[in-house]
Symmetry: C2
Subunit: 202 residues, 2 copies
DNA sequence: GCCATTATATGATGACCGTCATACTATAAA
DNA sequence: TTTATAGTATGACGGTCATCATATAATGGC
């Protein structure tokens, strides 16, 4: 072995890490192979030493977006008490910051409408990431003593996703803020934690 | 004038009408000019007699998607009493049928994550369509005697959008159905019309 | 039936992109 | 220091696409 054992793997990771951000920003169709490699300081030629095809690459990138988002949540909510963590989860998800930063935000908001048009492998990777995300939310809800977390979790996620997606679509800043505030209030009420964290209404 | 006065206009309409469906199905990036013209029985050459650019065309197509969806709602809810109409609105929006048919469904679900990546004119057309959609929903809510319709309407829409978007993302049919059912139940509860229309829980 | 004009078709151009064959380069072992 | 080999770069090919210049066809008025 002439290169260090970890060389290729490190490059692979670096490419994926950067691609995961670019994917959420530009979407799967506008994300060019050459551009991704360039961002990692490489040229397009080496791409196929790392990935079988663009489809294959996109599927890996999708998984990475979920992994990144998951780690981000863990970091933010680390050490909080269950109910506080849940409230903080909602406050961070349905926030102006999340709205402004698609490339580091939740892939469900960033990619949901691309989904039906992408390859099977893309959808599969998305589906698995989503499943883990919902399971995680459900666990946090259960730990916080919420009843019926199994049915409630995906519904809560749907409301959060819809609110952030809409807030990104609306051009009027005040309206956009209002949508987020209303969603935070409603979701925290549904969860019985509207007494914790940001106040939705003054 | 050699052609009938309406010829070009009719063609323009026909192209847009077909494009509006194709746009929701394939998305703005995968929608090819030549393909759209072919669907209308024409060749790609005449395209620029009708539209200044693809961007310009897409903006018109976006408006058309909202117009089509709006007309569809009017047709479905025509003649219903306010509260029944509102319940039917929710039941149709958050339905398996809507999930299965993006090309004739709500453009907000079909296009929301494309939005940040598209041109200014695209986003403007979307924003205007969305504004009308929300205003319409708000009016229906107000007429049905819902209090605080102004703040509630976009929040309700967000929950509906998120639920359908998630239901399209989830591969497991049963889970997907469950998400829709839970959303219908929650939304109709929020609106105080959970006694009308489909039963959310058996 | 012919003409002026408008709508559409043909075909070309240039850009971008995914993919791959081939050439180069860096490095660990000898 | 040399060499074998794994990792990366160069450059090309074929395809798709938006855009546009130019040619052709359709049609209402003369």
């Amino acid at each position: 072995m002439r290169y260090a054992d970890s060389h290729k793997e490190e490059t692979h990771r670096k490419v994926l890490k950067l691609a995961a951000r670019a994917l959420r920003e530009k979407g799967p169709d506008r994300l060019a192979v050459a551009e991704v490699m360039k961002a990692a300081g490489l040229t397009h030629g080496g791409f196929y030493a790392h990935f079988k095809s663009k489809d294959d690459f996109l599927a890996e990138a999708v998984s990475e977006t979920f992994a990144q988002a998951g780690r981000r949540w863990e970091r933010i909510l680390e050490g909080m008490a269950p109910r506080e963590a849940l409230a903080a989860y909602v406050d961070y998800y349905v926030s102006e910051t999340h709205r402004e930063n698609p490339s580091t935000g939740c892939p469900v908001v960033a990619l949901n409408s691309d989904l039906p048009r992408q390859s099977k492998s893309f959808r599969k990777a998305f589906d698995e990431g989503l499943k883990r995300l919902v399971a995680n939310l459900e666990r946090r809800m259960a730990v916080a003593g919420i009843e019926g977390a199994g049915v409630l979790a995906p519904s809560i996620l749907a409301e959060m996703v819809g609110a952030v997606a809409l807030s990104r679509a609306v051009s009027d800043r005040a309206h956009s803020d209002e949508i987020l505030a209303a969603a935070r209030y409603d979701i925290k009420t549904r969860l019985g934690i509207d007494d914790i964290g940001e106040q939705a209404h003054e």
